[in-house]
Amino acid sequence: MRAYSVAAEEALHARNLLKDWLGERFLTTSQWRSMEQETVSDLRRTNIFLRLVLFLFAVIIVVSAAALIVTVLFSGSDRLPGGIALLVFAAACYAGAEFAISEYRLYHHGIEEALAVCSVGFLCVGVTLLADIRIAPLAGGIASLWIWHRFGLAYAFLAAMIFAAWLPGYWTTSHTAQHLIVAAIYAAGLMTVAGLRSRYRFTYLNEEYSIAEALLWLGIYLAINLQLSPVNLFDHRSISVYSTPEFPRAFYWFTWVLTWCVWPAVLWRGLRQKDHFVIAVGGTVAVLTLITNKSYLGWPRHTWDPMLLGALLAGVAVLVHRWLSQGPGGILHGFTARRLSGKDKHWMNAGSFAFGIAAPGSTPMNPQTNSSDVRFGGGESGGGGASSDF
């Protein structure tokens, strides 16, 4: 079922770990060299920048070629030939991805990813032209799920989830039912993934299932938090319970209770499984619950709310750090605040560069005054706010 052999992927997994451990000096360079020779894989990888650029150009080629053929051969308004052509393109792209992997042993190399992604896109558009737009999300979801499983592309799983979220809109007009169906689909997916991943716990597939589980938890939360519903996100009046009349009152309060139940469950699961991605989603949904709680209850927001949230987040980080530091060697209950991976350092360096540039120098300020001299403007690109108009 998988496009790559177990041995090849295990070797890549081992190679990644060795590089990580070398970065943290858990291995000497001579040890690493000796061990690395035994983790040689025939799969061809590239670094992240070339992968992105190759993906971009491969998409440009495929989409341009498809558009060229369709516009040259099928210039009429008839949907049938265009739809069939797109389905043929979808099959050709998928065959191309398989060929690139089997013949050239490409592994997350950008090109075969672009072909796989384009095959899903062509399939959806082709099905829409030939049959019914309602079938497109179903076809796209199944194809994305297959590509995730076959090629191990985490974003294909996310695409499958997005396709799944579209489905109920074609089945019912009730917003309540739509939320419930999406949550039920994700919950079924979560149970399946949770059941499957235990057998891959310490293998190269663990990360893949971990990301899938984390995405499903996030999907369930987003489906049940009505304040994050697209209906409310685009409705600026949605600051009280009375602004969501499309939801029955009992359902509304049931989801509020659920939002407070989900984040501890996700965090608990992440900590029990020692799973970075699930822990990250647990933290994210906890923050989202705090942010949306006042909207749920219809309470007014205050300007100092973000300050309290910020103080809480920083306080939690400091407390957890101190608590973990009390353990022998800085380890308590199998957790540590120490850096144990070269990847973490890399992410921190990249993040501090990117977020430092993007940080707000000052926030947009709208004073509650008629005084013309109190006119704060937003800071620009960092700049300490001093670039703003006053």
Binding site: L17, W21, F26, L27, Q31, S34, T39, I48, F49, L50, V53, L54, F57, I60, I61, S64, L68, F202, T203, K274, I279, V287, P306, M307, L308, L309, G310, A311, L313, A314, G315, V316, A317, V318, H321, G334, F335, T336, D344, M348, G351, S352, F353, A359, G361, T363, T369, S371, V374, F376, G379, E380, S381, G382, G383, G384, G385, A386, S387, F390
Partner: protein, 314 residues
Amino acid sequence: MSILARLEQWKALGVISAEQYTLLAGLSCGEPLSLFLELNVLLYGGILAFIGGLGWTVSTWSQQLGDVLVQAALFVIFAICFWYCFSRVAPWSPHETPSPNLIFDYVLYLGCLTWSIELAYFEMKSHLLSGQWDYYLLATACLFFCLAYRFDNRFVLSLALSSLAGWFGLTISHWPSHQDAAYRQYAILYSFLIVIVGIILQRFGFKRHFFGTYLNIAANVLFWALLSGVFQRWDYTLWLIALLALCGGSLAWGLSRRQFSFVAYAAVYGYVGISWILLRDVHDFHAVLGYFVVTGTLMVVTLVRVAHHFGRET
């Protein structure tokens, strides 16, 4: 063969010691699990939320609270942050220095952002420099540069570089609206200045690990500036030559230093610039599509060769 089996084999062969085996086998099973990244993200998010709320509160309630109270509160936060940092910092070293603890970098970052709010509020109330924001930007950039080098903090270095960009008039929101030519010149000047400063500081051995930050920002600003020149309707030849030269330089630097972000910059910016020139007067849709198929294929073939020879791994 799983990683655990491999580790056992390496231990049996004497490649790694028994202690290393215990450590690495544990790590491969998530034992212990490092929460380092999660705690850093929490701290960063916390500081940003706090600063956002602080700015919002100050702007909304400044009249009710009064200038003295607002300025005093901002000064207290600023003073506590800097007292904390100066009291715990290790002696200065030109080399990379690890932070004394987890929160140190974020306290400094909070102090710098609070300083920005305080400065803005002060000028708004006192009009000391009569709205001459350039001077504030330059002073802020200088202060942040000093702090970044004193405390070895990349967050603050990025703030300093963006403040300096602001001083040069590189406010992104104004970029597309007017005065393209003036902004382009400032952008080029800014890029050259920070590259030269970066090179000098690196040559003197001051925080060599910051050099990548200077180069990445300078390369992107310079590429954007040259591309905006290429997009002009007239007098674009020199800009195109300059863009091609920069692409060549970026490619050579990226390949020789194995920094593939520069290879990617050269490929993408160069392709956009040349395509713009070649397609600007082409109105045949099929010809445009054909161009993308042919040139895209050429780019992929070239990049695959580059990837094969140089960029197999990160």
